[in-house]
Structure formats: structure tokens, C-alpha cells
């Protein structure tokens, strides 16, 4: 009960966040080395795998540079909204943190679903999905605007009275939880865990290009959101990873900006304004299907 009701200071919470982020990265690197050894034993450690993994960490580097520029503004918006528009003030306790994690996870579900449902969000989120591989390094593969969309989905929590540092802590926990899901080494976890939580198996499905796996399993920590809202799919047939159409590049800059390059070219070549509108507001799967239809009609 001590953790639940003891009072933290904002500084202590900030300290926990930095500490978690740093040590989790060390843990993830350790795990990634194990994965590499496993691929080496299975003779699947290819040049493309190596290049792809390097590109993943390179996008992380680019993303960190962007964060260094916009991070303070991001935090500033939360603090401003919290200071001026909060309707209650929740104490900085473990209990508040637990409630915030559940709500931040729900917010993440909707944000993630949003990113998949329109061309605007997909332009940045496609980066995370465009790797044809699936390992810990993919978890760190970020798009240029990945920091932007969470803002709108998590800001309501500040209005409800959650201290911004607690919201950031919850966001980090939701993010870190998913990091270790990006792996093929774990097949299925015990039944109760698979029922309640997002697992490597569920998240492989999310990264699949198989028809029955498209736009499924958006969850961060709790898979129950997908089960409740009808976006869940069980991993049955082997997953083929990536996006439609495949990117086929390990050039970090190409990878990082691929989503915006693709969106720009699609908008440029669009036949009319209605089509352009659909490109921005409809699922990227729609755009891909249009292109497939066009190709087959030309043939």
C-alpha cells in the first residue's frame, strides 16, 4: 500500500522516467544481441537484416534530434494546459499513476488506430511498419512526426487533472512495454497473459501484411481494447512483415522520410481533388487497393 498512497514529488517522477528510459535501452540492446545470435545459428543473419537494423537505429538517432528540438515545447503545452485548464488536481501517488497508465494505454490505442486509418497519420507511422524484419531494433524505428500525434490523444488527461509528469511516465511505460514485444524469439506466452496483455504474438499480427492481419491489434499494454472494440486477430498463419507496397530500402534517410515521400507523390499523381481528399482521410490500404486496381486494368 506504501507505493499506492505515498506522495511523490514531480522531480522524483521525472527521475524515474529518465532512469527507466536509459536502463530499458540497455536491456533492449542485450536482448537484441541474443536475437542476432539466434538468427546467426539459424543462418538467417543476412546482409539485409544487418542493414535494416542499422537503419532502425539511425531513424532513432534522427528522431532523438527532432525530440531535442520539440521536446520542451511538447512538455510546455502539457504544463500550460494543466496549469490553466485542469478541472481537478490529482495527487502524485502510485494509485494515480496506475489509473493514468490504464488511461494512457487506452489513449494510445485510439492514437494508434488513428495513425492507421488516414494517410496523414500513416505518413509518419509507416516508417515503423516498413521493415520486412521483426526484432527489437524495429521497436526503435521511428517516423519524423511520431511525437506529434500522441499530444492530442494524451492532452485530455492533463485537463482531467493528471500531472504532466505522470502522463509522460505513463506514456513511457506504454512505449517501453511494447519494445520487448518486437521479437520472433517468443512464440506464445501462458494463456492468461495472452488473454489480457499485448504479447509478441499479438504484435507480430499488427505488423503483418497478410490480409486477415491488416489493421488489427492496435493495443499498447492491454489487448482487451482490441478484443472489446473488434480489432483483434489471433496469430494463426505465419506473419509476413512490412507494408503495402514494400519499401525495399535500408537507406536510413529513405526509410525515415518514405511516408511523406510516398504521400507527396500520391497527392501529386492523384487524378482529382476528391481522390486527394481520400488519400488524406482514408486508410492507406484504400490507396494501395486503388493502385492495384489501376495496374490490373492497364494490363
Amino acid at each position: 500500500m506504501d507505493f499506492l498512497t505515498g506522495i511523490f514529488s514531480p522531480d522524483e517522477i521525472w527521475g524515474i522516467e529518465v532512469w527507466m528510459n536509459d536502463w530499458f535501452f540497455v536491456l533492449a540492446i542485450g536482448f537484441f544481441i541474443v536475437e542476432c545470435l539466434r538468427y546467426a545459428v539459424k543462418k538467417e543473419f543476412t546482409k539485409n537484416f544487418l542493414g535494416d537494423s542499422i537503419a532502425n537505429f539511425a531513424t532513432l538517432g534522427l528522431f532523438i534530434i527532432i525530440l531535442a528540438i520539440v521536446g520542451a515545447a511538447y512538455a510546455g503545452v502539457f504544463l500550460y494546459i494543466y496549469d490553466n485548464f485542469r478541472v481537478t488536481e490529482l495527487p502524485l501517488t502510485g494509485w494515480t499513476i496506475l489509473c493514468c497508465i490504464v488511461l494512457a494505454d487506452l489513449a494510445y490505442y485510439w492514437e494508434h488506430r488513428f495513425l492507421h486509418m488516414n494517410g496523414f497519420g500513416w505518413a509518419t507511422h509507416t516508417v515503423h511498419h516498413s521493415s520486412p524484419h521483426f526484432n527489437i531494433s524495429v521497436a526503435y524505428r521511428h517516423g519524423p512526426m511520431d511525437w506529434f500525434f500522441p499530444l492530442f490523444f494524451h492532452l485530455p488527461l492533463a485537463i482531467l487533472g493528471f500531472h504532466p509528469f505522470i502522463i509522460f511516465l505513463a506514456e513511457i511505460i506504454v512505449q517501453l512495454f511494447q519494445t520487448l514485444l518486437h521479437t520472433e524469439t517468443v512464440k506464445k506466452l501462458p494463456r492468461p497473459i495472452e488473454t489480457l496483455f499485448n504479447t509478441p504474438s499479438h504484435h507480430r499480427v499488427h505488423h503483418g501484411t497478410n490480409k486477415q492481419y491488416l489493421d488489427k491489434n492496435y493495443a499498447g499494454i492491454f489487448i482487451i481494447w482490441d478484443k472489446m472494440f473488434g480489432t483483434f486477430a489471433e496469430e494463426k498463419e505465419p506473419v509476413s512483415y512490412g507494408v503495402h507496397p514494400q519499401l525495399n530500402s535500408v537507406n536510413p534517410l529513405k526509410v525515415f522520410f518514405s511516408g511523406y515521400a510516398k504521400l507527396t507523390s500520391r497527392l501529386w499523381h492523384a487524378p482529382n481533388w476528391g481522390y486527394r481528399w481520400n488519400l488524406l482521410t482514408k486508410s492507406p490500404t484504400w490507396a494501395w487497393q486503388q493502385e492495384q486496381n489501376l495496374k490490373s486494368s492497364i494490363k
Binding site: M1, D2, T5, W95, T96, L160, M228, F229, G230
Partner: protein, 190 residues
């Protein structure tokens, strides 16, 4: 579930967990009284008359916190020290309901006193030292209300200077954020 129903359900979930966070103090208290009852029962079982009377009618408050001889003009420094005492605040069971400020050994010119700022030990999971305040025959200087700093210091002028003072006690009631909502001031003469 349709998109509309999914969003609606999400709002209900948000309301639920927001409510849980909002009423955590009350929930914690709902769990707490049972513990206290158990403790009282334990005390009653022991054949000690002193404990029994104590459990029935509290005549003293036990507080724990920090105590120091200070110039009353510098009391803010002691408050800072108190607020920064993470060791003390870590051992709070929940957001404290009251903070006590006890002035003893008050100098004749009212410039100095031994001041203790602390919480009721019942709100702590653990504490080192505690100080007992006999509240059986104190009198009210200021009834429970919202006061500003000058009103609080003016209250001291109502003290009967002829009598020997044992203590002046300020009791600040706190809200969920630890801000003072109301204050009471008592004085006790020897």
C-alpha cells in the same frame, strides 16, 4: 463493436478510472477504519485501563515531524525544511488531512519559540520521534475558518499575557493537493 459504440465505451472507461483516481483518498479511508478498529480491539483486549480511556476519549494528539528552536520571523525556513523532508513524506499513508504547528517555550518578547511542524502519527506508516500534545484543557484562539497571514498573527494578540503559556497550536486542514483550506488556533496555559 461499431466505431461509435467503441468511442462511447472508451468515454465510460475514462470516467471510471478518473473516478478511481479522484476518490482514492476516500477509498483509502474506507479501507483504513477497519484497521483502526482492529487496533482498538487489540488494545481493549490488553488489560490496561490507560489504553482503554485513551481509545474512548482522545485527550492528546501525537505528532511527528521536525522540531527546532527558531526566530519566529524565520519560520518560513522551517516550513521549507519540513516541505523538503522526503523522509517524512515518504511514510505518509495517504494525502495527510491536517498539519500541526506547535509553538512551545515561547520567549517573553514573542521573538523566539521551539516550533514543531508535523503530522498526526495515525497518518504515518512509520515514524521515529513523536511529540504528545495535551489538548484536554486548551482554549480556542481562532475558530476553524480560512485566514490570511496577518489574521493568524493578529490572533496571538488575544493571548492572555498574564498567564504562563504552555503552547500555541495551529491546526491546518489540507485539501487533496496539500494546500491549507481552514485553520484553527489554540492556546494552552499552565
Amino acid at each position: 463493436m461499431s466505431l461509435f459504440n467503441s468511442i462511447l465505451t472508451s468515454f465510460i472507461i475514462v470516467a471510471t478510472f478518473w473516478g478511481l483516481a479522484l476518490f482514492q483518498g476516500k477509498i483509502a479511508h474506507a479501507i483504513q477504519p477497519q484497521k483502526i478498529i482492529q487496533e482498538v480491539q487489540k488494545e481493549v483486549k490488553e488489560p490496561s485501563i490507560v489504553n482503554l480511556t485513551k481509545a474512548v476519549k482522545p485527550e492528546s494528539i501525537d505528532i511527528t515531524g521536525i522540531r527546532q528552536q527558531v526566530e519566529l520571523a524565520d519560520i518560513q525556513l522551517l516550513w521549507q525544511k519540513f516541505n523538503n523532508s522526503t523522509k517524512l513524506h515518504k511514510h505518509l499513508k495517504y494525502q495527510p488531512k491536517k498539519v500541526y504547528v506547535l509553538y512551545q517555550k515561547i520567549s517573553k518578547d514573542y521573538q523566539q519559540a521551539e516550533v514543531t511542524i508535523g503530522y498526526d502519527i495515525n497518518e504515518m506508516t512509520q515514524f521515529n520521534k513523536h511529540y504528545s500534545i495535551d489538548i484536554s484543557h486548551n482554549s480556542v484562539l481562532l475558530p476553524e475558518n480560512k485566514y490570511d497571514k496577518t489574521q493568524l498573527s493578529d490572533a496571538w494578540e488575544k493571548i492572555n499575557h498574564q498567564k504562563i503559556k504552555e503552547y500555541v497550536l495551529e491546526v491546518h486542514a489540507l485539501n487533496q493537493q496539500g494546500e491549507t483550506t481552514t485553520t484553527q488556533v489554540f492556546v494552552s496555559y499552565q
